[in-house]
Protein backbone atom coordinates (compact mmCIF):
# COMPACT_ATOMS: atom_id res chain seq x y z
CA UNK A 1 0.00 0.00 0.00
CA UNK A 2 2.64 2.49 1.04
CA UNK A 3 4.75 1.40 -1.90
CA UNK A 4 1.87 2.30 -4.24
CA UNK A 5 1.57 5.65 -2.55
CA UNK A 6 5.26 6.32 -3.04
CA UNK A 7 5.04 5.38 -6.68
CA UNK A 8 2.08 7.68 -7.13
CA UNK A 9 3.95 10.49 -5.43
CA UNK A 10 7.01 10.03 -7.53
CA UNK A 11 4.82 9.99 -10.66
CA UNK A 12 3.21 13.27 -9.61
CA UNK A 13 6.60 14.73 -8.87
CA UNK A 14 7.90 13.71 -12.26
CA UNK A 15 4.83 15.19 -13.95
CA UNK A 16 5.36 18.42 -12.05
CA UNK A 17 8.93 18.55 -13.16
CA UNK A 18 7.87 17.93 -16.74
CA UNK A 19 5.24 20.69 -16.61
CA UNK A 20 7.68 23.15 -15.12
CA UNK A 21 10.19 22.29 -17.77
CA UNK A 22 7.76 23.10 -20.53
CA UNK A 23 6.21 26.14 -18.88
CA UNK A 24 9.28 27.80 -17.45
CA UNK A 25 12.04 27.31 -19.95
CA UNK A 26 14.24 29.86 -18.22
CA UNK A 27 14.13 27.80 -15.05
CA UNK A 28 14.56 24.47 -16.80
CA UNK A 29 18.32 24.46 -16.45
CA UNK A 30 18.24 25.01 -12.70
CA UNK A 31 15.26 22.75 -12.10
CA UNK A 32 16.72 19.90 -14.10
CA UNK A 33 19.99 20.14 -12.22
CA UNK A 34 18.28 20.17 -8.83
CA UNK A 35 15.62 17.55 -9.46
CA UNK A 36 17.62 15.12 -11.52
CA UNK A 37 19.02 12.12 -9.76
CA UNK A 38 21.11 11.32 -12.80
CA UNK A 39 24.21 13.00 -14.06
CA UNK A 40 24.13 16.77 -14.34
CA UNK A 41 23.30 17.94 -17.84
CA UNK A 42 24.32 21.41 -18.95
CA UNK A 43 22.80 22.79 -22.09
CA UNK A 44 22.74 26.19 -23.73
CA UNK A 45 18.99 26.31 -24.45
CA UNK A 46 19.73 26.64 -28.11
CA UNK A 47 16.55 24.71 -28.92
CA UNK A 48 14.47 27.56 -27.52
CA UNK A 49 15.20 29.77 -30.53
CA UNK A 50 13.57 27.23 -32.85
CA UNK A 51 14.19 27.85 -36.51
CA UNK A 52 15.34 31.41 -35.99
CA UNK A 53 18.80 32.27 -37.21
CA UNK A 54 21.41 33.02 -34.55
CA UNK A 55 23.10 36.25 -35.55
CA UNK A 56 24.85 37.70 -32.54
CA UNK A 57 25.73 37.61 -28.89
CA UNK A 58 22.73 39.53 -27.59
CA UNK A 59 22.44 40.62 -23.98
CA UNK A 60 23.61 37.60 -22.03
CA UNK A 61 24.73 35.17 -24.69
CA UNK A 62 21.46 33.25 -24.48
CA UNK A 63 19.51 32.63 -27.66
CA UNK A 64 16.62 34.95 -26.86
CA UNK A 65 14.99 37.84 -28.64
CA UNK A 66 14.96 41.25 -26.94
CA UNK A 67 13.87 44.71 -28.05
CA UNK A 68 15.44 47.64 -26.25
CA UNK A 69 17.23 50.95 -26.66
CA UNK A 70 20.27 49.62 -24.84
CA UNK A 71 20.49 46.60 -27.10
CA UNK A 72 19.18 47.22 -30.63
CA UNK A 73 20.60 43.94 -31.95
CA UNK A 74 19.46 40.81 -30.12
CA UNK A 75 21.02 37.40 -30.48
CA UNK A 76 18.51 35.91 -32.91
CA UNK A 77 16.27 37.08 -35.71
CA UNK A 78 12.64 37.60 -34.71
CA UNK A 79 11.05 35.33 -37.32
CA UNK A 80 12.02 31.82 -38.37
CA UNK A 81 13.22 31.27 -41.90
CA UNK A 82 10.57 30.24 -44.41
CA UNK A 83 10.43 30.09 -48.21
CA UNK A 84 9.36 33.73 -48.64
CA UNK A 85 12.02 35.06 -46.31
CA UNK A 86 14.71 32.95 -47.96
CA UNK A 87 13.74 34.33 -51.37
CA UNK A 88 13.83 37.84 -49.95
CA UNK A 89 17.26 37.27 -48.37
CA UNK A 90 18.49 36.12 -51.77
CA UNK A 91 17.15 39.26 -53.38
CA UNK A 92 18.79 41.29 -50.60
CA UNK A 93 22.20 40.14 -51.86
CA UNK A 94 21.60 42.18 -55.01
CA UNK A 95 21.19 45.91 -55.36
CA UNK A 96 19.22 47.42 -52.50
CA UNK A 97 17.86 50.15 -54.77
CA UNK A 98 15.76 47.49 -56.49
CA UNK A 99 14.01 46.57 -53.24
CA UNK A 100 10.57 48.09 -52.77
CA UNK A 101 9.58 49.70 -49.50
CA UNK A 102 7.37 46.72 -48.68
CA UNK A 103 10.26 44.33 -49.21
CA UNK A 104 12.48 46.50 -47.03
CA UNK A 105 9.82 46.46 -44.34
CA UNK A 106 9.49 42.70 -44.64
CA UNK A 107 13.25 42.35 -44.23
CA UNK A 108 13.18 44.58 -41.18
CA UNK A 109 10.31 42.68 -39.59
CA UNK A 110 12.04 39.40 -40.36
CA UNK A 111 14.92 40.47 -38.16
CA UNK A 112 13.19 42.65 -35.58
CA UNK A 113 9.85 42.72 -33.79
CA UNK A 114 9.35 46.37 -32.91
CA UNK A 115 10.74 49.60 -34.29
CA UNK A 116 12.10 52.19 -31.89
CA UNK A 117 8.97 54.30 -32.39
CA UNK A 118 6.84 51.33 -31.36
CA UNK A 119 8.99 50.71 -28.30
CA UNK A 120 8.48 54.35 -27.29
CA UNK A 121 4.75 54.33 -27.99
CA UNK A 122 2.69 55.15 -24.90
CA UNK A 123 1.21 52.17 -23.15
CA UNK A 124 -2.33 52.69 -21.83
CA UNK A 125 -1.79 50.05 -19.14
CA UNK A 126 -1.65 52.75 -16.45
CA UNK A 127 -5.38 53.29 -16.88
CA UNK A 128 -6.15 49.71 -15.90
CA UNK A 129 -3.68 49.89 -13.00
CA UNK A 130 -5.21 53.12 -11.71
CA UNK A 131 -8.72 51.74 -12.15
CA UNK A 132 -8.07 48.51 -10.28
CA UNK A 133 -6.25 50.42 -7.53
CA UNK A 134 -9.25 52.71 -7.03
CA UNK A 135 -11.58 49.71 -7.04
CA UNK A 136 -9.44 48.10 -4.34
CA UNK A 137 -9.51 51.24 -2.21
CA UNK A 138 -13.28 51.54 -2.70
CA UNK A 139 -13.90 47.93 -1.69
CA UNK A 140 -11.79 48.16 1.47
CA UNK A 141 -13.23 51.54 2.48
CA UNK A 142 -16.77 50.29 1.86
CA UNK A 143 -16.06 47.20 3.95
CA UNK A 144 -14.84 49.39 6.79
CA UNK A 145 -17.87 51.68 6.61
CA UNK A 146 -20.25 48.71 6.47
CA UNK A 147 -18.70 47.05 9.51
CA UNK A 148 -18.57 50.36 11.38
CA UNK A 149 -22.31 50.77 10.77
CA UNK A 150 -23.20 47.17 11.69
CA UNK A 151 -20.98 46.64 14.73
CA UNK A 152 -22.72 47.68 18.03
CA UNK A 153 -20.87 50.02 20.33
CA UNK A 154 -19.08 48.56 23.34
CA UNK A 155 -21.53 48.73 26.30
CA UNK A 156 -19.05 50.49 28.60
CA UNK A 157 -17.59 52.75 25.92
CA UNK A 158 -19.16 55.89 27.39
CA UNK A 159 -17.99 54.95 30.88
CA UNK A 160 -14.40 54.31 29.75
CA UNK A 161 -14.27 57.63 27.97
CA UNK A 162 -15.72 59.58 30.89
CA UNK A 163 -13.64 62.27 32.62
CA UNK A 164 -13.70 60.54 35.99
CA UNK A 165 -12.34 57.25 34.74
CA UNK A 166 -9.58 58.89 32.77
CA UNK A 167 -8.56 61.09 35.69
CA UNK A 168 -8.57 58.13 38.06
CA UNK A 169 -6.48 56.04 35.71
CA UNK A 170 -3.99 58.85 35.33
CA UNK A 171 -3.76 59.25 39.10
CA UNK A 172 -3.25 55.55 39.52
CA UNK A 173 -0.40 55.68 37.00
CA UNK A 174 1.17 58.55 38.93
CA UNK A 175 0.77 56.66 42.22
CA UNK A 176 2.48 53.64 40.76
CA UNK A 177 5.44 55.89 40.00
CA UNK A 178 5.71 55.27 36.28
CA UNK A 179 6.88 58.10 34.06
CA UNK A 180 8.29 60.06 36.96
CA UNK A 181 10.12 62.39 34.66
CA UNK A 182 6.92 63.16 32.82
CA UNK A 183 4.89 64.15 35.93
CA UNK A 184 2.49 66.98 35.36
CA UNK A 185 3.77 70.24 36.74
CA UNK A 186 0.25 71.50 37.38
CA UNK A 187 -0.82 68.46 39.42
CA UNK A 188 -0.58 68.44 43.18
CA UNK A 189 0.27 64.92 44.29
CA UNK A 190 -0.73 65.45 47.94
CA UNK A 191 -4.07 67.05 47.31
CA UNK A 192 -4.69 64.84 44.33
CA UNK A 193 -6.02 67.76 42.38
CA UNK A 194 -4.88 70.46 39.99
CA UNK A 195 -2.71 73.16 41.57
CA UNK A 196 -4.35 76.50 41.95
Amino acid sequence: MSCDCLQQLSKIRNNMALNLRTKLPQLAQTMARQMSSHEIFYHDQRELCGGREIVGHGKTGKYTYYDGHDLPFPAIRFRPDDAASKALREKEKGDWKKLTIDEKKALYRHSFCQTFAEMDAPDPEWKAVLGFTLIGIAVSWGTYLTFAAIMPEHPYREFFDSHEVRTASEQRRLDAGTHKDLMFKGWDMEKRAWKE
Partner: protein
Protein backbone atom coordinates in the same frame (compact mmCIF):
# COMPACT_ATOMS: atom_id res chain seq x y z
CA UNK B 1 75.83 33.60 20.69
CA UNK B 2 72.10 33.82 20.27
CA UNK B 3 72.27 37.57 20.73
CA UNK B 4 74.93 38.07 18.11
CA UNK B 5 73.08 35.80 15.69
CA UNK B 6 69.88 37.71 16.26
CA UNK B 7 71.65 41.01 15.75
CA UNK B 8 73.23 39.78 12.54
CA UNK B 9 69.86 38.51 11.33
CA UNK B 10 68.33 41.84 12.20
CA UNK B 11 70.98 43.61 10.14
CA UNK B 12 70.38 41.30 7.19
CA UNK B 13 66.65 41.85 7.31
CA UNK B 14 67.01 45.60 7.60
CA UNK B 15 69.57 46.00 4.87
CA UNK B 16 68.25 43.49 2.37
CA UNK B 17 64.65 42.44 2.64
CA UNK B 18 63.01 45.48 4.14
CA UNK B 19 64.78 48.06 2.06
CA UNK B 20 64.16 46.33 -1.23
CA UNK B 21 60.56 45.80 -0.20
CA UNK B 22 60.22 49.49 0.52
CA UNK B 23 62.19 50.62 -2.48
CA UNK B 24 60.81 48.37 -5.18
CA UNK B 25 57.38 50.01 -5.67
CA UNK B 26 59.11 53.30 -6.29
CA UNK B 27 60.96 51.84 -9.23
CA UNK B 28 57.86 50.21 -10.78
CA UNK B 29 55.65 52.62 -12.66
CA UNK B 30 52.06 51.60 -13.20
CA UNK B 31 48.67 53.14 -13.95
CA UNK B 32 46.60 53.13 -10.79
CA UNK B 33 43.36 54.46 -12.28
CA UNK B 34 40.40 52.26 -13.00
CA UNK B 35 39.19 51.19 -16.41
CA UNK B 36 40.73 51.25 -19.79
CA UNK B 37 42.88 54.13 -20.95
CA UNK B 38 40.84 56.95 -22.43
CA UNK B 39 40.90 57.34 -26.17
CA UNK B 40 40.86 60.75 -27.74
CA UNK B 41 37.94 61.55 -30.04
CA UNK B 42 40.03 61.02 -33.16
CA UNK B 43 41.40 57.72 -31.87
CA UNK B 44 37.90 56.55 -30.97
CA UNK B 45 36.51 57.43 -34.39
CA UNK B 46 39.45 55.82 -36.15
CA UNK B 47 39.09 52.69 -34.03
CA UNK B 48 35.46 52.20 -34.98
CA UNK B 49 35.89 53.22 -38.62
CA UNK B 50 38.75 50.74 -38.93
CA UNK B 51 36.68 48.09 -37.20
CA UNK B 52 33.72 48.52 -39.56
CA UNK B 53 36.04 48.73 -42.57
CA UNK B 54 37.65 45.37 -41.85
CA UNK B 55 37.12 43.21 -44.92
CA UNK B 56 36.48 40.03 -42.92
CA UNK B 57 34.00 41.53 -40.45
CA UNK B 58 31.03 39.25 -39.78
CA UNK B 59 27.47 39.75 -38.60
CA UNK B 60 28.33 38.88 -35.04
CA UNK B 61 31.01 41.56 -34.79
CA UNK B 62 29.04 44.29 -36.53
CA UNK B 63 26.12 43.75 -34.15
CA UNK B 64 28.35 43.74 -31.11
CA UNK B 65 30.01 47.00 -32.19
CA UNK B 66 26.63 48.62 -32.87
CA UNK B 67 25.30 47.44 -29.51
CA UNK B 68 28.37 48.91 -27.84
CA UNK B 69 27.83 52.22 -29.62
CA UNK B 70 24.20 52.19 -28.51
CA UNK B 71 25.23 51.79 -24.88
CA UNK B 72 27.89 54.52 -24.86
CA UNK B 73 27.18 58.10 -23.90
CA UNK B 74 27.79 59.49 -27.37
CA UNK B 75 26.38 59.91 -30.84
CA UNK B 76 28.54 58.21 -33.45
CA UNK B 77 30.20 60.50 -35.99
CA UNK B 78 28.88 60.38 -39.56
CA UNK B 79 32.07 58.68 -40.72
CA UNK B 80 31.47 55.84 -38.26
CA UNK B 81 27.88 55.58 -39.47
CA UNK B 82 29.00 55.52 -43.10
CA UNK B 83 31.51 52.77 -42.37
CA UNK B 84 28.85 50.80 -40.48
CA UNK B 85 26.33 51.10 -43.31
CA UNK B 86 28.93 49.94 -45.81
CA UNK B 87 29.76 47.00 -43.57
CA UNK B 88 26.06 46.11 -43.44
CA UNK B 89 25.98 46.29 -47.24
CA UNK B 90 28.95 43.91 -47.49
CA UNK B 91 27.17 41.51 -45.13
CA UNK B 92 23.93 41.80 -47.16
CA UNK B 93 21.85 42.69 -44.12
CA UNK B 94 19.48 45.53 -44.86
CA UNK B 95 17.65 45.33 -41.54
CA UNK B 96 20.87 45.99 -39.61
CA UNK B 97 21.45 49.22 -41.55
CA UNK B 98 17.97 50.62 -40.83
CA UNK B 99 18.06 49.48 -37.24
CA UNK B 100 21.41 51.22 -36.75
CA UNK B 101 20.00 54.47 -38.16
CA UNK B 102 17.09 54.16 -35.74
CA UNK B 103 19.54 53.59 -32.91
CA UNK B 104 21.54 56.67 -33.93
CA UNK B 105 18.38 58.78 -33.94
CA UNK B 106 17.53 57.41 -30.51
CA UNK B 107 21.01 58.35 -29.28
CA UNK B 108 20.35 61.98 -30.27
CA UNK B 109 17.78 62.05 -27.47
CA UNK B 110 15.93 65.33 -26.94
CA UNK B 111 18.13 67.08 -29.52
CA UNK B 112 17.13 64.72 -32.33
CA UNK B 113 15.48 67.57 -34.25
CA UNK B 114 18.84 69.42 -34.36
CA UNK B 115 21.41 66.66 -34.73
CA UNK B 116 19.63 63.94 -36.67
CA UNK B 117 18.89 66.05 -39.80
CA UNK B 118 22.56 67.06 -39.89
CA UNK B 119 23.66 63.43 -39.64
CA UNK B 120 21.24 62.49 -42.44
CA UNK B 121 22.63 65.31 -44.56
CA UNK B 122 26.17 64.06 -43.95
CA UNK B 123 25.41 60.43 -44.78
CA UNK B 124 22.95 61.15 -47.61
CA UNK B 125 25.47 60.29 -50.40
CA UNK B 126 26.09 56.89 -48.81
CA UNK B 127 22.37 56.25 -48.37
CA UNK B 128 21.76 57.04 -52.03
CA UNK B 129 24.75 54.99 -53.14
CA UNK B 130 23.69 51.89 -51.21
CA UNK B 131 19.94 52.32 -51.66
CA UNK B 132 19.15 52.49 -47.96
CA UNK B 133 15.87 54.12 -47.00
CA UNK B 134 15.89 56.11 -43.79
CA UNK B 135 13.48 55.02 -41.06
CA UNK B 136 11.38 58.08 -41.90
CA UNK B 137 11.10 57.04 -45.54
CA UNK B 138 9.97 53.60 -44.39
CA UNK B 139 7.40 55.13 -42.07
CA UNK B 140 9.16 53.96 -38.93
CA UNK B 141 9.30 57.39 -37.28
CA UNK B 142 5.76 56.67 -36.06
CA UNK B 143 4.46 53.42 -34.56
CA UNK B 144 3.27 51.17 -37.35
CA UNK B 145 2.09 47.98 -35.65
CA UNK B 146 0.81 47.17 -32.22
CA UNK B 147 1.81 43.86 -30.70
CA UNK B 148 -0.34 41.64 -28.59
CA UNK B 149 0.52 41.48 -24.94
CA UNK B 150 2.43 38.29 -24.23
CA UNK B 151 0.30 37.71 -21.14
CA UNK B 152 -2.84 37.59 -23.31
CA UNK B 153 -1.52 35.02 -25.77
CA UNK B 154 -2.85 31.49 -25.52
Amino acid sequence: MLRSAALRLHGVVRSGVLQTAVRSPVAVQQRLSHGKPELSDEEFDRKYVDFFNRPNIDGWEIRTAMNDLARMDLIPEPKIIIAALKAARRLNDYAVAVRFLESVKDKCGPKAHEIYPWILQEIRPTLDELGISTPEEMGYDKPELAIQNVEDMQ
